[in-house]
């Protein structure tokens, strides 16, 4: 089989799975008055298309910010405008000011789904293909397998094509940045990442590794010679990209500051709903929100996040290799997810992206984490009526990633990089950690499956209505914390032994 045909089949399968999921319901379908993220995106189209740009982020008579006000950076707004432009050509009712609120119809759903697919096809999927082909080792078959699993990651598919969001765009830009950095096109990479940042502010989760990698590289090249020129080029490209994205808002300082205030809503509290991060899990034991004042909450979370990000960032700064960069991306986004302020359950996708990059290097751990991340969003999927696609895509991902990447066969202690654990826990009796880990994996999968079934089939006791969501988020939290520690340890142990890996393939 030619590689091109296998690649095209993988991509097409990815498309058909995405479209299959998109046939299902979306968030807030037929649930007035607020609906859900689907209506939010549609409302942004309505607002950006009908109002002048100066009013987009302001509360005016025509723009009620309490009803899904625009709270993403300008690129999202421009994207909404483009979609609205096309929507208006097809059916003006879809984006009519005021009267189109809560508009739902099969044709409109089809249009919205198509916009997500187009964005995915243009930005996310090409980046994934490029990454798998130029930046992973192994035979062509292995690369195709990695590509297939990467494209099939259920979390992103279910959120974008089921729940309804455009994460593919920001993830895609970030991935373009990673690919460019991996190929040595630093200026292009930093521009791509700036676009990601300007599409969703949550991409800040990845910002520190990008910064540290580029800075570390400049330092290594010599801050007086080539390093300086690279630094200047990168800085200029970043500034230019930002300026271009914000150009319409720069004329008036009030505009820009209002956008920033909308993007970072400090007033919203430490966390919402049930998130599998530290604060929400601690909340089961200590009611943190009632003890600590809102400002202190902010500072506390900031301090914890910085503390958690610091080790991996410093390590990356001193050793700016691509391998360290990938691990630092995972560590930084996990640190942000676990400790930062105002985290949504969907933000785990930001950690899932860099872990997808590690599918080829650390298959078992990556698959385990990705599965847990999908599972952590289970309450959301149940609310949106996405049970069937959740079950189908999760089973498919779990089975095919383990089968195609032979995750359970290549798991000696060395391949899993567990050597450092022996040093850390020297007091414990010697045992085969790989075997322990494999058993933990089986048990964890069983627990996730059991909790999924329980959430669907059982009715929680009346005095504990949130029993299953809390259990789900607590379970997911332990997984995320464990992965966070593991990836940090891997980052601090030696680089991957390439020759050894090739032999095993």
């Amino acid at each position: 089989m030619q590689t091109w045909s296998l690649v095209s089949i993988c991509v097409l399968l990815g498309v058909v799975v995405r479209w299959g999921v998109s046939l299902n319901s979306y968030s807030g379908a037929a649930r007035p008055p607020m609906f859900g993220d689907y209506e939010a995106q549609r409302h942004w189209q309505e607002v950006t298309y009908n109002l002048p740009l100066q009013e987009w982020y302001f509360n005016t008579t025509d723009n009620d910010l309490n009803y899904w006000g625009l709270d993403y950076p300008p690129l999202t707004a421009y994207h909404s405008w483009i979609c609205a432009f096309i929507a208006n050509k097809i059916n003006p009712e879809w984006v009519e000011l005021h009267t189109s609120r809560g508009y739902e119809s099969p044709a409109h759903k089809l249009f919205m789904r198509a916009t997500v697919l187009v964005a995915d096809l243009l930005i996310y999927i090409p980046a994934v293909v490029l990454y798998c082909f130029y930046l992973t080792d192994g035979s062509a078959k292995k690369k195709v397998s990695t590509l297939f699993c990467f494209l099939l990651y259920p979390g992103l598919i279910l959120i974008d094509f089921g729940h309804f969001q455009y994460n593919g765009v920001s993830h895609g830009f970030a991935l373009w940045g990673v690919v460019a950095l991996g190929l040595g096109w630093d200026v292009f990479g930093s521009m791509a990442f700036c676009l990601a940042l300007n599409y969703k502010q949550m991409e800040l989760y990845h910002a520190l590794p990008f910064f540290c990698y580029l800075l570390g590289k400049c330092v290594k090249l010599g801050l007086m010679g080539r390093g300086l020129s690279l630094l200047v080029r990168i800085a200029v490209s970043v500034l230019v990209t930002f300026a271009l994205c914000w150009l319409p808002f720069l004329s008036d300082p009030g505009q820009a500051s209002q956008v920033v205030r909308r993007i970072f809503p400090v007033a919203r509290g430490l966390f919402e709903d049930k998130v599998a991060n530290t604060w929400c899990s601690l909340n089961v034991l200590i009611k943190i929100r009632s003890i600590v004042s809102r400002d202190s909450q902010l500072y506390l979370s900031l301090a914890c996040t910085l503390l958690a990000v610091l080790p991996s960032s410093i390590r990356l700064l001193t050793k700016p290799t691509f391998w360290q960069f990938k691990l630092a991306l995972a560590n930084s986004s996990l640190a942000f997810f676990l400790f930062s302020y105002q985290v949504h359950e969907k933000s785990i996708l930001l950690a899932a992206l860099p872990v997808c990059l590690l599918l080829n290097d650390l298959p078992l751990m990556a698959i385990w984490f990705l599965q847990a991340s999908t599972f952590s969003m289970l309450p959301l999927f149940l609310k949106d009526g996405l049970l069937v696609p959740y079950v189908v895509t999760s089973l498919a991902f779990l089975f095919f990633s383990i089968y195609l990447l032979s995750a359970l066969e290549h798991c000696t202690e060395e391949q899993l990089r567990l050597g450092a654990y022996h040093k850390l826990f020297f007091c414990l009796p010697k045992m085969d950690l790989a075997c322990v880990l494999r058993w933990k994996f089986y048990i964890s999968i069983a627990v996730m499956a059991g909790l999924s079934v329980a959430s669907v089939a059982l009715v929680p006791p009346p005095h504990l209505p949130d029993l299953f969501p809390v259990l789900v988020s607590a379970t997911a939290f332990t997984h995320f914390l464990g992965t966070f520690i593991y990836f940090n340890i891997v980052q601090f142990s030696g680089p991957p032994a390439r020759k050894n890996q090739k032999k095993n393939n």
Binding site: Q2, S5, S8, I9, L12, V15, V16, F399
Partner: protein, 522 residues
């Protein structure tokens, strides 16, 4: 060897699991009226006594499959009870609650396991030329993908909604049993199949003649002709009793109740038109178009008065009854004669010169294609009857691979109008692309050592199909003809495809009738 077998078991399991999961993704997709047909049959068989099954007509979708299928529906309905009792009420017309949809869709996915098992058996029968180390390039793997991932079955069963996978499972299993020389099992499976859905009567001549000639006669003369003295009455009795007992099991209760004429009148409704609402790509599509063209030409040349022509003919494709303007109208008897004439040489050939199970398979394909080309009221879905068994031959020889590629591409494309809802457009296009890309590259790769698979003219024809598809799906809806000639895309599609199907039919005939190749020189 054991390791290789275990390995093949793993990839096959992975493949079938993957395809089954993909099928589950289409649960909430569009489903046709066939969904209601099967719901109604569930209700009839569950809530009415057997004597009422073939009399019940609350719904317009009366039970018109043979009794064994009704028994099968009865079995399903006992599971359906646990999902949603409301779907089992006869008067609950067009009922499609979420759990009903889930149950019906899952019932198709699960009964498809018969098909999966049959595909496994077929893969075991494939002759391998050389041992390749890479699984992806071995004929059994290619055959498994071609069968399990068949585009037509996916959209007809899992989007449009029917139980073809289950039925084709019996057909392929019976073919596999014949390839393994287990003729009695093959015959049993085929008689079960016939009692599940009588459309398979089309291929019954191939079965009858093959079993009689190659099973009941145990020896041939040296020149390959039949040795009459070797006839084994015991084998004939065994075959006969198998077929008779299956039929008795299925039809027995209805014969006892004296309802046989009623059942048969439901099974063979000749009141329908020559062509299905949408023309299947067969000879009659060409015939209709020729008639239309002649009529138009006649009017232009002032040889005919437009007012004298029958009215309905302009909307061809949209009404059931098609009245021919100039050419003689076609009656069911004529199509029957044409069909018999079309398959006669194939059947005769395996009587005079039997070529083993593969010759039988070729004859079966010709019966299927012959009846598709000339039959009365043929559905476009019937093309699967030829495509699926042909997959087996396609992985074994280069020539059959060429025929297969032409037939599948045209046959599958002619299924496109089945899914007309815009939401399912990406599904049908992408699935078709996947299947086409895979079948072309895999078969080319498989037969690469023996020259190219397709002839230049076939390549041109298939490229033309791409152009037709583009014109019909993209250009036409934007053009002014959209209003004036709404049926034009369907017409073009079925005419263009019928050429390809007819060509494949002829080439298959050539491959059957051509004198046997000389044994290769060492």
């Amino acid at each position: 060897m054991a390791a290789a077998a275990a390995d093949s078991g793993r990839w096959f399991a992975a493949l079938s699991l993957g395809v089954s999961l993909l099928k589950c993704l289409f649960i909430s997709a569009y489903h046709s009226t066939d969904f209601e047909v099967h719901r109604n049959w569930l209700a009839i068989t569950h809530s009415l006594p057997v004597s009422r099954w073939y009399h019940e007509n609350t719904s317009e979708w009366t039970l018109d499959y043979p009794p064994l299928f009704a028994w099968f529906e009865l079995g399903l309905s006992h599971v359906a009870r646990h999902f949603d009792r409301n779907m089992l009420l006869v008067e609950n017309l067009n009922y499609a609650g979420p759990s009903t949809v889930l149950f019906q869709r899952l019932s198709v996915v699960f009964t498809d396991l018969v098909f999966v098992f049959a595909a496994r058996e077929c893969c075991r029968c494939v002759q391998e030329q050389k041992g390749s180390r890479d699984v992806l390039t071995r004929p059994p793997f290619v055959l498994a993908v071609l069968l399990l991932g068949n585009f037509g079955l996916l959209i007809v069963d899992h989007v449009h909604f029917q139980y073809n996978g289950f039925l084709f499972g019996f057909l392929l299993l019976s073919v596999a049993k014949h390839l393994q020389s287990r003729h009695l099992q093959g015959a049993l499976l085929f008689s079960i199949l016939l009692n599940l859905k009588h459309i398979y009567l089309y291929v019954a001549p191939a079965y009858g003649v093959y079993l009689l000639r190659s099973y009941c006669f145990t020896q041939d003369n040296t020149d390959g002709s039949v040795r009459w003295r070797s006839f084994s009455p015991l084998r004939l009795v065994a075959l006969g009793s198998i077929v008779a007992s299956v039929c008795a099991l299925s039809f027995g209760p209805f014969i006892m109740m004296g309802q046989l004429p009623q059942v048969l009148s439901r099974l063979f409704p000749f009141k329908r038109g020559l062509c299905h609402a949408y023309w299947a790509p067969n000879i009659w599509a060409l015939y209709n178009v020729l008639d239309k063209a002649l009529a138009t030409l006649g009017v232009r040349l002032k040889l005919l008065e437009e007012t004298q022509l029958p009215r309905a003919s302009m909307t061809g494709g949209l009404v059931q009854e098609f009245q021919h303007s100039l050419l003689p109208s076609v009656s069911p008897a004529v199509t029957l004669v044409c069909t018999l004439l079309a398959i006669l040489p194939a059947v005769a050939s395996i009587w005079w010169r039997p070529r083993g199970a593969r010759g039988f398979l070729r004859c079966l394909l010709l019966c299927a294609l012959g009846s598709f080309m000339f039959g009365w009221h043929v559905h476009e879905k019937a093309i699967l009857l030829a495509i699926l068994p042909l997959s087996i031959l396609a992985v074994e020889s280069r020539e059959d691979a060429g025929i297969f590629l032409v037939l599948t591409t045209t046959g599958h494309y002619s299924l496109f109008p089945l899914l007309f809802t815009p939401a399912e457009l990406p599904i049908k296009v992408v699935l078709m692309l996947i299947y086409t890309v895979y079948s072309f590259t895999a078969l080319k790769n498989l037969h690469s050592s023996r020259g190219s698979v397709l002839r230049p003219l076939e390549v041109v024809y298939l490229l033309g199909l791409v152009a037709v598809a583009f014109a019909c799906e993209v250009i036409f809806p934007l053009s002014p003809w959209q209003q004036k000639l709404p049926f034009l895309p369907l017409l073009t599609t079925s005419v263009y495809c019928s050429v390809g199907v007819f060509y494949s039919f002829l080439r298959l005939y050539v491959s059957l009738l051509r004198p046997e190749e000389k044994p290769k020189q060492p």
